[in-house]
Amino acid sequence: MAKVTLKGLNHSYLKTQSSDADWAIRGVDIDWNDGGAYALLGPSGCGKTTLLNIISGLITPTKGDILFDDKVISGLNPVERNIAQIFQFPVIYDTMTVYDNLAFPLRNRKIPEEEIKVKVYEIAEMLELSSTLNNRASGLTADGKQKISLGRGLVRSDVNAIMFDEPLTVIDPHLKWILRSKLKELHQKINRTMIYVTHDQTEALTFADQVVVMHEGQIVQTGTPVDLFEKPKHTFVGYFIGSPGMNILPCQIKGNDVILNGKKIETHQQIKKNNFNKTEVGVRPEFISFSNEGIPVKVLSVSNTGRHKIIDTESETGKIKIIAKSNEDIPSGSAFLKFKKEYTYTYGDSWIIE
């Protein structure tokens, strides 16, 4: 078990770098506490797997340091770092039985066979693999195989951290739920630092106490699921998290006022400076309601998801999505919208203006 710290990490797969785009990871600083559950969330290609492989030691970063419990371990290999990692696709040793697969990491570390037996049975019990222990691993289904991969990661009791690289990609949706809650349960039981990489916001938000959102190799926000939802620090976080994502509308800043569609609107922050190339207002569909006055829009369509209604509207500066209760009456044709002040933010060059 260990506290994981990343200091000034930069990584590029190229030999020479000329622009920001040449870096897979840019200026990453992270402090992860011992025993926490963390998620790295971002779209494909944002650098989250690279970051994970840097932590586990499969990739050496171009610049920066990795610390476990405040000790620099940048030069160590994965075995010396003593971490476990579970990959996107199940990795199993075809010719071995389920038991031997689970015992493999322990046998490689020369642990006595009796001790291995106890550990393997314990893990198999947790993952509900006990009945298949003597079967050939290659005969299992995809989720069975992935459980073995998970088991091999969890079987060692002394690991510094366990990392998951989109481990549920190949799993059927209904099993995803089961395995995900299993992971959460395991985390509470064994209390080890777990780092979970995913592009699926539901997975990240349900698994982790703290979510790190990555975009184009940078960390755009770190926070609890509630933070990310209620106060996105970057427009990317706004529209990446939430379903549908945040409405981002171009606006002007005049003095201390935010002007949207020629009208002043109230936002969360006090605007003190105005030196941006691009300014936008962001508000989540959940925090917009119909009103008698406000932003004039035209209602385009209404779709009912069962739990709530999603309304598409068109304003002068762009489309706005609204979420309303399923029993709420929706005006047709022209209407006015009101934004909840405390959840309406202004962004300068995509970053929140504070």
């Binding site: 492989n53 075995v79 990692q85 990959f87 990795v91 075809d94 490689n108 050939r136 091999r152």
Partner: protein, 288 residues
């Protein structure tokens, strides 16, 4: 789902059928014809039943060449398969080295078989050949045209040179198809290099290696041109493998009946070994 029945489609098979008939079925049937009859030419045939088969099965000459054949095939498989895997493991995985290695590796495979035989014949000549002359200059008493051991050594070396590349290319393809995650997982599991080889690489290469062993078995079991050009089966009958012996019997002695029977037996041995080997390999596959 109901499939449409269209018997006219059989017409499309006719060209292939005709082609196969002319280059395989008809010649094979001719051999069958000769194997059961005696002929003195002029298309006069006399029924002999299984006489030729009995004669071949009991003949010491056949036993000797069959023995030589199995020995040769086992030796070259024993050398080429491990060597091919070893070379494939050391080949570069990216960069300019990949095409360079692949092209160099394919070169021996592109050389016509009789040229390979002729090349090695000259290469190994004890007086003027580079190999033969060098070995003698180093103090070895080497003469592949007169000494049995040297003849075998040269034939095996030639075959290894000619065919190991095939095993290398197949193994390399098998190795490249292993996803990097397997190596990463093994690294994290703390697996030794040997464990990575036996638990990941070999099982993943199983299918291509099955193909490689089958191809090398069949080709080496039917080898003719190269040893014929290199040693002509000599010295004496020392390197007269089945096919060389067969040609001697059929075209040298004109014993068409026994030769036909022998070639049928020969054919069934190849078929049987391939079938047994393939079935064994694939039965394991189905179990898992």
């Amino acid at each position: 789902m109901n499939k449409t029945v269209n018997q006219k489609a059989w017409f499309f098979v006719i060209p292939v059928f005709v082609l196969v008939a002319f280059n395989a079925i008809i010649p094979l049937m001719t051999v069958v014809n000769y194997a059961f009859q005696e002929t003195f030419g002029n298309n006069v045939f006399m029924w002999e039943g299984t006489r030729w088969f009995k004669q071949i099965m009991l003949s010491e000459r056949f036993h000797a060449s069959l023995g030589r054949q199995f020995l040769f095939t086992f030796i070259i498989l024993f050398i080429q398969i491990p060597l091919g895997i070893a070379i494939a493991l050391t080949m570069p995985k990216e960069g300019i080295g990949v095409p360079v290695c692949l092209v160099l590796m394919s070169m021996p495979l592109l050389i016509p078989w009789n040229v390979v035989g002729a090349m090695w014949n000259i290469f190994a000549l004890p007086d003027i050949g580079f190999l033969g002359h060098s070995l003698n200059a180093l103090g070895f008493d080497y003469n592949f045209t007169q000494q049995i051991g040297d003849a075998w050594f040269t034939t095996i070396l030639m075959d290894v040179w000619h065919w190991t590349s095939l095993v290398v290319l197949l193994s390399y393809a098998g190795l490249r198809s292993i996803q990097p995650a397997y190596y990463q997982a093994a690294e994290i599991d703390g697996a030794s290099r040997w464990a990575i080889f036996t638990k990941i690489e070999l099982p993943k290469m199983k299918k291509v290696l099955t193909i490689a062993i089958l191809l090398r078995f069949m080709d080496s079991f039917m080898i003719y041109t190269e040893p014929f050009v290199l040693t002509g089966g000599g010295p004496g009958n020392a390197t007269a493998f089945l096919s060389i012996d067969l040609v001697k019997m059929a075209l040298g002695q004109f014993d068409l009946g026994p030769a036909a029977a022998m070639s049928l037996i020969y054919f069934f041995i190849v078929l049987l070994v391939c079938w047994v080997f393939y079935t064994l390999m694939m039965r394991n596959e189905e179990k898992s």
